[in-house]
Subunit: 156 residues, 2 copies
DNA sequence: AGATATAGTCTAGTTGCTTGACTATAGGGA
DNA sequence: TCCCTATAGTCAAGCAACTAGACTATATCT
């Protein structure tokens, strides 16, 4: 029950798009986690929530996860360690490369995916109701376009 | 030079609004920090960037900062410790309350504020160019509206 | 066959937070 | 007026989410 900032005295000059983006993103993450915890997945942290959608059904190497997420392979390893400990994924040898191991979902892990999908849809429906379907779609499209345009700008 | 994820193999099913929001917000934070570091403020971390706009010119108590930001007072204290060490803010006694101390900007701190404002405007201009002014304004408005609607939903 | 790159692991350290325990002052009754 | 409780700030310890460095085993290039 962390105190939120909405309910307090007037904060100064926080009305730029970066703030708006952060607020919205932060709320989404919270809502998502709340739903997952509510569905019984109380081990579901934000960082783990990020890893999971990058693992595909056929399994994925840790190094690939690291590359996809833009994190060090050590970070990935720690997340995978945790997910293995909680029975969500498992490591199996990669038949094509004896150095590598493939991270795959356990049956339990697949149920997490399904729950995550439900949570995602539920939040999207909520947002669409708040804004109206047309404006929600507009917002989504504008964000996707912005992200695509941004895709390869500052880094690289 | 952290690896970004744009440049790698195809990731699965990441096309919901939460992801879009996170991506955009993450990019904004990065762009902001890059500009501040480029302007010579290399101590400028993301967390500190969050604290600074909540301090008003007349000075603000730490407890107020904690409430505004939704963080523990210990967290605020650590940030303020760091900002004091880097000469950005200072702690002065509160004449109205002998328990309290007021956090105010040093002259150096005020120059940071100005630089931050420039960085903010520069990023906004960039985004507006990418999307077109009309669509950018639309996006901003939709985000503000969404945040306001969300303001008091899951927590409290 | 040898040089070099890559997948994963281990160790150790940093940052951004948290809770718990404590001191000093404030403010409201009895 | 004394006491009780709430509040501002601080200190210490600990957890989560990372990072960089060093190492092993295997793969790949020449």
């Amino acid at each position: 029950m962390v105190k939120r900032l909405d309910d307090s005295s007037t904060p100064p000059l926080l009305t730029h798009i970066g703030w708006s983006l952060w607020r919205a993103s932060d709320h989404w993450l919270r809502a998502f986690r709340a739903r997952m915890v509510g569905a019984g997945y109380s081990w579901f942290s934000e960082a783990r929530a990020n890893v999971i959608p990058h693992i595909d059904r056929a399994g994925t190497q840790q190094a690939v996860l690291a590359e996809r997420m833009g994190l060090s392979k050590q970070a990935i390893q720690q997340f995978v360690d945790g997910l293995v400990a909680d029975g969500v994924v498992q490591r199996t040898p990669d038949p094509a490369d004896a150095r590598a191991r493939i991270v795959t979902f356990t049956p339990e892990g697949l149920s997490v995916l399904a729950a995550a999908n439900r949570a995602k849809k539920s939040i999207e429906a909520d947002y669409a109701t708040r804004l109206g379907k047309a404006r929600f779609d507009q917002l989504s499209k504008a964000l996707v376009e912005l992200n695509e345009s941004l895709g390869d700008s500052t880094d690289e």
